[in-house]
């Protein structure tokens, strides 16, 4: 079961924030979450706004972002 759509691999992210700037729906925000290298990994609280255009997957230079198909709760039951 997929309960969240967007996954950011914290170990691969280098904190360039290209995703926060170039997401057309502004799903990503800068955040204070640090990974073990001391990099600020962006947050993705506004996941509902995501249209799965997959632009962030292509624009992430570190291959850290994965966008899954949204699983409808009705279909699950």
């Amino acid at each position: 079961m997929v309960d969240f759509m967007i996954t950011i691999d914290k170990n691969l992210c280098k904190g360039c924030n290209i995703c926060t700037e170039f997401c057309p729906r502004k799903v990503y925000q800068k955040s204070g979450v640090l990974n073990k290298k001391g990099v600020h990994v962006p947050g993705h609280e506004d996941e509902d706004k995501c249209t799965q255009c997959q632009l962030c997957v292509m624009m992430c230079p570190d291959q850290a972002i994965k966008v899954d198909e949204k699983v409808d709760e009705k279909d699950e039951n």
Binding site: I18, D62, Q63
Partner: protein, 288 residues
């Protein structure tokens, strides 16, 4: 990490080497993604892809990709790639090269590859500066840009690589920036499908050196600059030279069909070496 929790391009990469060595926000990662995307669209067999690179930041890309790769001497990737292609024309040879590699030290190899029209795909990552060695001015640095060897701004006129390769005889030439990944993937798809010398110039960001010396400190600033300054070829044709100063002309510069070098070579060998022997010249790996 679970397989289906990963980015869709990770399956092409050597996982044990990640994260790669590129700086935060470097355009090389985006170009890797767009290349895999274009390769999927062109339906190229990943097993047949051979990546060749010279020296530089961009030339470290083949080291991270799970395919046959060759890291060669400075400026000579196209010469090595010519050898690979002629030894086995079944291979899909892709050359990753930087602007210093292709235009400065290897300029001669670049124009002669284009002149021969051999079936290679050359992806030239143009970050307008020598990124690996400390931010020296390269042959493609824009006029007036700063570098560690040009503290008062570059005086020379930069190379227009796409026009250079087009006039040298390449059959597919396109230029895009990393801020336009969809168009770039389509260009890479066309270049892989094209039978002949395909050249793609990608204007990329180097926030560490070019950005820092030219008052664009973050990769976002650099990508916004590229987005604002890029202008399509069709629109650029209507503008005067003064209006085009400092602009990045993007688009498809050449797309034509012409006889290809490995085909010509194979035909020559077939016509000259047909004394009832099996055709051993076409590929050393085919057997029989």
């Amino acid at each position: 990490m679970d397989e289906n929790r990963e980015n869709r391009f990770i399956k092409y990469l050597r996982k044990d080497r990640l994260p790669h060595i590129f700086c935060a926000g470097c355009g090389n990662g985006i170009i890797m993604n767009t290349f895999f995307n274009g390769m999927e669209m062109a339906e190229v067999d990943f097993e047949k892809v051979v990546m060749v690179s010279g020296i530089g930041c961009s030339s470290r890309i083949p080291g991270y990709v799970k395919c046959d790769s060759l890291h060669t001497t400075h400026g000579r990737p196209i010469s090595f790639a010519t050898g690979i292609k002629l030894a086995n024309p079944e291979n899909e040879v892709v050359v990753f090269t930087g602007d210093g590699d292709a235009a400065a030290i290897g300029g001669n190899h670049l124009i002669h590859g284009a002149r021969r029209n051999i079936d290679l795909t050359v992806i030239c990552i143009n970050n307008s500066i020598y990124g690996m060695t400390g931010g020296q001015i390269s042959p493609t640095s824009p006029k007036g840009s700063y570098g560690s060897t040009a503290p008062y701004g570059a005086l020379e006129t930069p190379f227009d690589l796409s026009e250079l390769v087009k006039s040298a005889g390449a059959t597919y030439v396109a230029r895009w920036t990393t801020a336009q990944p969809v168009q770039l993937s389509n260009a890479i798809k066309k270049a892989l499908q094209n039978q002949g010398f395909s050249f793609i110039e990608v204007i990329s960001q180097c926030p560490t050196y070019f950005g820092r010396k030219n008052k664009m400190r973050t990769p976002i600033d650099m990508m916004n600059w590229m987005k604002e300054e890029s202008i399509t070829k069709r629109r650029a044709e209507k503008l005067s030279e003064e209006e085009l100063e400092g602009k990045i002309i993007v688009g498809e510069f050449q797309n034509k069909k012409e006889a290809e070098f490995t085909d010509k070579m194979c035909q020559l060998l077939e016509s000259k070496c047909t004394n009832d022997k099996p055709m051993a010249t076409r590929s050393a790996y085919q057997g029989e």
